[in-house]
C-alpha cells in the first residue's frame, strides 16, 4: 500500500503529510521546553540576592563555562546552515554535495555532544565544601592523580583520607553580572594568571562535601534536566541525519522527491533543536 501525499501536497492543507506531521510534533516540543524555561525563570527570579554558595539560597551565577558554551552555539548555528545547504544540493540534483554538507552537520552534532560531555564531567568533579567553622569554598581536588566524580563526604571518609588538597576557585569575572564591579584583588589574581588558591583542608573539619550534581542546588537540577533533554534531541537528530546520509540513500535513487522532502523534515527538526539552544544559552549561561 502506498502512503499518500509523501511528495505532492494535499489540497486541503497545501502541504505534504510529513511536513504537517513534523510541525504538529514540534508544537508539542515547544510546550515541553516551554514548561522547563518557565520553571527556570521562576527559580531564577525567586532566588535570594547574592551568590551561591556564599548565600545558601542564592544563585550560582557564572559557574558555567561561557567560552565553551559560546563555541558550542557557533557549532550548532554552523550545522543549521549546512543542513539547509544539503537540502538545496538535493534540489540541484547534486548528491555528492548533499553528502558532504550532511557529513559536516553530523560532525557538528557529535562535536557539540563531545563538548557537552566534557562540560558535564567538569561539573561532576567540581565540589562545594562546607567546613565546621561555617566557611564554604568551591573547587576541585585530586586523589591519586585523578579528579574523582560524584564523591560525598562519606566516600572521602570510607577511603580513610585525612586531608584534601583543594584547588579553591577564585571567582571568575563572569560571577559578577553586568552592573557589578569585580573586586580589585580578584581582578589582579586573574590578571596574574592565578585562577585557584591551593588549600589543605582536614577531612575532620568538613561538614559537607557535594559535587555539582542536580541534588546540590535547584540551578544544577534545572540546568542538567534542560541541557540533557536538549542533548537527547541533538543525539536523536544526529542519528536520523546520519541514517539519511549513510543507510537510507536507496530512496534517493527510487524517489528523489520523497527523499528531498524527508531531508526537509529532518532539517526542520534540526533547526528546532538549534533554536532551543539559541534560547537556552543566554538564559542558562548569561542571566
Amino acid at each position: 500500500m502506498d502512503i499518500p501525499y509523501t511528495v505532492n501536497p494535499r489540497s486541503d492543507t497545501g502541504l505534504y503529510n510529513a511536513k504537517v506531521g513534523i510541525w504538529l510534533f514540534l508544537a508539542s516540543e515547544v510546550m515541553l521546553f516551554g514548561a522547563f524555561f518557565s520553571a527556570y525563570i521562576l527559580l531564577r527570579v525567586t532566588a535570594q540576592q547574592g551568590f551561591w554558595p556564599d548565600v545558601a539560597d542564592g544563585w550560582p551565577h557564572g559557574l558555567l563555562n561561557i567560552p565553551i558554551g559560546t563555541f558550542n552555539t557557533a557549532v550548532l548555528i554552523s550545522s543549521s546552515v549546512t543542513v539547509v545547504m544539503a537540502w538545496m544540493a538535493l534540489k540541484e540534483n547534486n548528491f555528492p554535495k548533499f553528502r558532504n554538507f550532511m557529513l559536516f552537520t553530523v560532525a557538528c552534532a557529535l562535536g557539540f555532544l563531545g563538548i557537552k560531555t566534557f562540560e558535564y564531567k567538569e561539573k561532576f568533579s567540581h565540589y562545594v565544601i562546607r567546613t565546621t567553622d561555617g566557611k564554604v569554598v568551591t573547587g576541585h581536588f585530586d586523589v591519586d592523580g585523578k579528579s574523582p566524580l560524584f564523591w560525598t563526604l562519606d566516600t572521602v571518609k570510607s577511603k580513610n583520607i585525612e586531608k584534601l588538597k583543594v584547588e579553591v576557585d577564585i571567582p571568575n569575572r563572569y560571577r559578577f553580572p553586568v552592573g557589578m564591579q569585580v573586586p580589585e584583588d580578584i581582578h589582579k589574581a586573574h590578571a596574574e594568571g592565578r585562577h585557584h588558591d591551593e588549600r589543605v583542608i582536614e577531612v575532620s573539619q568538613i561538614d559537607s562535601l557535594k559535587a555539582f550534581i542536580p541534588s546540590t542546588h535547584p540551578f544544577f537540577a534545572i540546568y542538567f534536566t534542560m541541557t540533557f533533554l536538549h542533548g537527547l534531541h541533538v543525539l536523536g537528530g544526529a542519528i536520523v541525519l546520519a541514517y539519511f546520509t549513510f543507510i537510507g540513500t536507496d530512496l534517493w535513487r527510487k524517489n528523489p522527491e520523497q527523499f528531498t522532502n524527508r531531508i526537509e523534515v529532518g532539517g526542520l527538526f534540526w533547526h528546532f533543536v538549534d533554536l532551543v539552544w539559541i534560547f537556552l544559552f543566554p538564559v542558562v549561561y548569561l542571566l
Binding site: 511536513k19 510541525w23 546552515v81 539547509v84 564591579q181 581582578h187 543566554p282 548569561l286
Partner: protein
C-alpha cells in the same frame, strides 16, 4: 512553513542572540574595563553583521523555493 522560512527565522534569532552577547560583553567592559570583554563584544557584532549578510545571500539563492 518550509525549511527556507524556518531558516530565515533561525538566522534572525541568531542575529538577535549575537547582539545580546555583544551588549552583555560591552556591559562587562563598561564595569571592569577588561580588554577581552571589548574584543568579544566586537567579535559578536561582526558575527551579527556576518549572519545578516549570509541571510541576504541565502534569500537571493533560495528565491525560487516556496515559503510554505
Amino acid at each position: 512553513m518550509s525549511l527556507k522560512t524556518f531558516h530565515i527565522v533561525f538566522v534572525t534569532v541568531s542575529v538577535l542572540l549575537m547582539l545580546v552577547i555583544a551588549a552583555w560583553n560591552f556591559g562587562n567592559y563598561r564595569d571592569n574595563g577588561t580588554q577581552a570583554d571589548l574584543t568579544w563584544g566586537v567579535v559578536s557584532v561582526i558575527a551579527a553583521v556576518g549572519l545578516l549578510i549570509y541571510g541576504k545571500i541565502f534569500l537571493r539563492k533560495f528565491k525560487n523555493v516556496s515559503y510554505l
